[in-house]
Symmetry: C2
Subunit: 281 residues, 2 copies
């Protein structure tokens, strides 16, 4: 346990944690109600998902800022590799949406293995090529891009970056200061090389840090994440590594939990986040 | 595709591939029928699972050898770490069973995170301590022990070794020539550092090499493995790395496939394995 109380100003909510406020999960809150609830608890930022914004990106962004919170992120671009890769137009639309919302960072989940290829090398090369075109466009829109490596269980159809090292290698290849990485404890908690990987990286390379926990008995790859403290990830050790690598941004809570937290009252979820953040992160 | 035809003598069957011959999967073959079917097709070896042997380990081992096949392995010891770790007695029993069967190698899936701890460091230390006691006992019984790292999706309750590097580090700590590793493409295909990890290891460190494929759209962590050639793993590249590291043993096919291959006629499964092995591995 940390020997000081974390300031909730460094805490951000990823709206996936409340089941995207979809009907059937939580209370189906409007974005504004969600912003108010986070502001009341002293959160510093919110990350939204594209499908929650509809045509209201500009209004929701302004409302968030007027409540004293940053819009720290938007999830996410279409896939850039794999069978379900999006077009350049679709990627541009996601960048424009992030700009309209006023989000600092647009997250990239890369997509899977490039059609007709095996392994990861060709897919990663293809990814780097696309990013060389996309990164300058995002920069012109004032939006940073964060590559998020995923747990290797998402290989095949969701990611071609399995480790922070994989993601950093792509950043090096692309060579744009507008491209960095997002580190999510769910995806990296198992990586015994993480500390070594994060040594001597540029101090501004990490654009996001995502919190949840890895449950000892995970029942679903995608939708069974745990609340901080309920699992086996060494959250304090990972945060130490991330901060030693220069990260000073938000601790963004992102919990996909179909069987548990998505079914709770959002007020309880937010209160639990604050308590767990103070004591376990 | 390889420019030569693989010799099926280097091919081994892991009986999990036929659903352990359990009633309801395949034809529910007796061990002897399975051995005959492998011998007819020129397989060089078979790996059994403990639960298939009941009290017939000695007889099944002898039958296998009399048919001209090696018993290359037995799966597996109880877990050594985690909430479900087995007792020293249970571990000894699995070693004795392997000796009775005449198996060259007894596989170890380590088990998950040590109770009351976070992350992997404590669990890996605990694992190394137990192995320091177990390895000499196995050696006295003429049974080699192979640590099998698992895909990180099995962290928490099944493994505390996520990469080949993790497993090699434990081997170094334990320092017994009777302890090596098993490399399964399902667990390692995503690891972009695999080639580097396998450079300069002792040439006899790899005790097993397991084949299947990683399906682009994997629907179940445990039971949705693909047949070689049907997925996105770069099987040729991985085999090259493994052989360059000194491995000269069997290519052991181990496919858990509840929705597909376990429901097929075992003869078709075995014929498919031979064809895919010749062309894709």
């Amino acid at each position: 346990m940390r020997n000081f109380q974390n300031d909730t100003k460094a805490l951000a909510l990823n709206t996936a944690t409340l089941g995207h406020n979809l009907p059937g999960y939580g209370a189906g809150w409007e974005a504004e109600k969600l912003v108010d609830a986070c502001a009341e608890r002293g959160f510093g930022g919110i990350t939204f998902w594209s499908q929650e914004l509809q045509t209201r990106a500009h209004a929701i962004g302004n409302y968030t800022r007027s409540a004293g919170l940053d819009v720290c992120g938007l999830c996410r671009t279409p896939y850039l590799t794999g069978s379900d890769a999006g077009s350049d137009d679709a990627v541009l639309q996601s960048i424009e949406l992030a700009a309209e919302l006023g989000a600092d960072v647009l997250t990239i989940v890369t997509g899977g293995t490039h059609p007709g290829t095996k392994g990861l090398v060709d897919s990663q090369n293809h990814l780097a090529e696309r990013l060389q075109n996309i990164a300058p466009i995002a920069e012109q829109h004032g939006v940073k891009l964060a590559l998020e490596p995923l747990n290797p269980m998402f290989g095949g159809n969701r990611t071609c970056l399995m480790t922070v090292e994989d993601a950093l290698n792509i950043c090096k290849k692309v060579g744009s200061e507008n491209l960095g990485i997002a580190i999510d404890v769910y995806h990296v908690w198992w990586d015994t090389r993480l500390g070594e990987t994060l040594q001597n990286i540029p101090p501004t390379q990490i654009f996001g840090y995502h919190l949840c926990d890895w449950l000892e008995n995970t029942t679903d790859m995608l939708l069974d994440r745990g609340m901080m403290g309920d699992g086996v990830a060494d959250l304090l050790a990972i945060r130490r590594m991330v901060e030693m690598a220069g990260y000073q941004g938000y601790c963004e809570v992102e919990i996909f939990s179909e069987r548990h937290w998505w079914r709770e009252d959002p007020n309880l979820v937010l209160d639990t986040i604050v308590e767990r953040y103070r004591n376990y992160c």
